[in-house]
């Protein structure tokens, strides 16, 4: 019996390599995405824990618009009730800035 000689078909090799490359690329992308989600979840969980127990998370900064006319004042506890009442009266005047923003005073006891 004559042994048939196997010869590689260049077309077939190319297709096989292409398929292998596609599969590998797919796995790489999937792995990267899953890893990213996993790492993000870990980070989020850690942040939640840190926030809940007040460790070293950065304080959430208060934000305001560039044209804000709202003024928040930190006041000593003894003066706070008096200044709160006066701020209420001041706000009741409905003053506005030249560009039409309402002037508003908030008091927080510190």
């Amino acid at each position: 019996m004559k042994r048939s000689k196997s010869r590689s078909n260049p077309k077939r090799v190319l297709v096989t390599v292409g398929v292998l490359f596609a599969v590998l690329t797919f796995f790489c992308i999937t792995f990267t995405m899953v890893s990213a989600i996993f790492i993000r979840n870990i980070t989020n969980n850690a942040s939640t824990y840190v926030d809940a127990y007040g460790e070293s998370s950065a304080p959430e900064a208060m934000t305001w618009e560039p044209d804000s006319a709202e003024l928040t004042i930190a006041v000593s506890p003894v003066m706070a009730p008096v200044l709160q009442a006066l701020a209420g009266q001041f706000n009741g005047q409905n003053l506005t800035t030249p560009d039409g923003q309402p002037m508003n005073v908030q008091v927080v006891a510190y």
Binding site: A61, E65, S76, V78, M79, Q89, T97, M103, N104, Y110
Partner: protein, 488 residues
Amino acid sequence: MVDAALDRPGFQAISPDSSLWLDQLDQAWTAQTSGQAGEEAAIPVGQQRIGSQVRYAVSPIVIAAWESAARELGWPDQPVGWEDIQQLATQDPDFKWNHPSTSTAAGLLATLAEFYAGAGLTRNLTEEAATAPETLEYVKNVESTIQFYGEGEEVIVQRLAEEGRDFLDAFVAQERVVIDWNRTQADQQGQERLVAIYPKEGALWTDHPLALLELGSRADELATTNNQHLTFQAFADYLTSADVQQQLLASGYRPADLSIPLDAPGSPFADTGVNAGAVDWRQPQTTLQMPGPAVVDVVKNVWRLTKRPTNVYLVVDASGSMSGPKIIRTRQALTAFVNQIQGDRDRVGMIEFGDGLKAFTPLRVMDEGNRADLLIQIDAMEASGGTALIDAVYAAVADLQAQSDGEAIDAVVVMTDGKENSSAYELRDLQALLRSGAGRPPVIFTIAFGKDADEELLQAIAELGGGQFRRADATDIEELYRIISTYF
């Protein structure tokens, strides 16, 4: 407030009781910005933290006393000073007075006034005068009769309303506190009046500044807007308007506008009404000069040498229910507490309890080595076992009483998240022990950590120890320990 104003604050203006805090903020900001501290430090023009400011009210620092207690001191027939308070408190151990911690305006201004009195001055208190041996001896004698330090006037007033003269006979406060008490508690609730004793050696004043913060020089914070500047100016004008100055007078503050008569009909300083005689617009006869920031710093530092020392036991629940986040937060809170105790003569001990006493660290002076040891022990705390709460408190009280340190403030700070289930002693045994001591019993502060703590028992223990019961959770337990540390 000062610390918060340094780091991306949630406010654009501040109004502390005294401009002393503005000086402190300036100093801290300069040190932070320039990387230097002290008089050499400077920051570029335009990068100051504090912008416009205005003063809208004032109030002198007085010794607020029950009218009956004031008469025991010789009021109103003779002038009363710091030394008179000290003498009465020394002769009569039942006479209780305090001033708040120097972290409050009233406490710091009263302390400065004591240093002035000790130096025999009314102006130009220098570092040399403040640290002279005679001055320190004088202040030490006055401070030795303090019942405890603690939080600001608003907390004292709250406890006075609950406990009356059992709590305190006299305390340091702004004059306005006396006026407000007489109007709300004496007139409306039938309580005894308070009167303002203006120290004969002279007094300092709270001056209630309103100051705008110039935010935005840090890359990570928003700038104060032009419109916020306008609102600040409008509100400052409003506060200093004649109508509002009258309102501030009616509320018990002295207006910044000196043209307003203080004794007009309807004023709290008038000769009629519930405050008649309790406050006197002609007083204080002598106003002390506010020292500069450097002298204030020196006084705050040397005050630690003159203040009444403290013996405090931290009694800490390390039972199984404390496992997880609770024990982590407890370690942090205890660490903060230990780091706050800075007096050279203050001693701290710690008792961990579970099924029984798991660890007993006797009182030790908080020098560098002992502090480090205690912090290591705190860090090593683990949660396991039952809750032998009463046994642990009993052990702390017994040790304090055995030491009989009459000079110090003896205190126990107890924290638990659960219910008593393992003690051999009962509450009545603790009561008997507290009554058996020769001197003043230790003050006991109790903290219920979370919702499952036996609040009834903790309240009863605090009551037995003449202290306070507080609630805390994971978010505020560290702050609570920090507050309690101000009592010492």
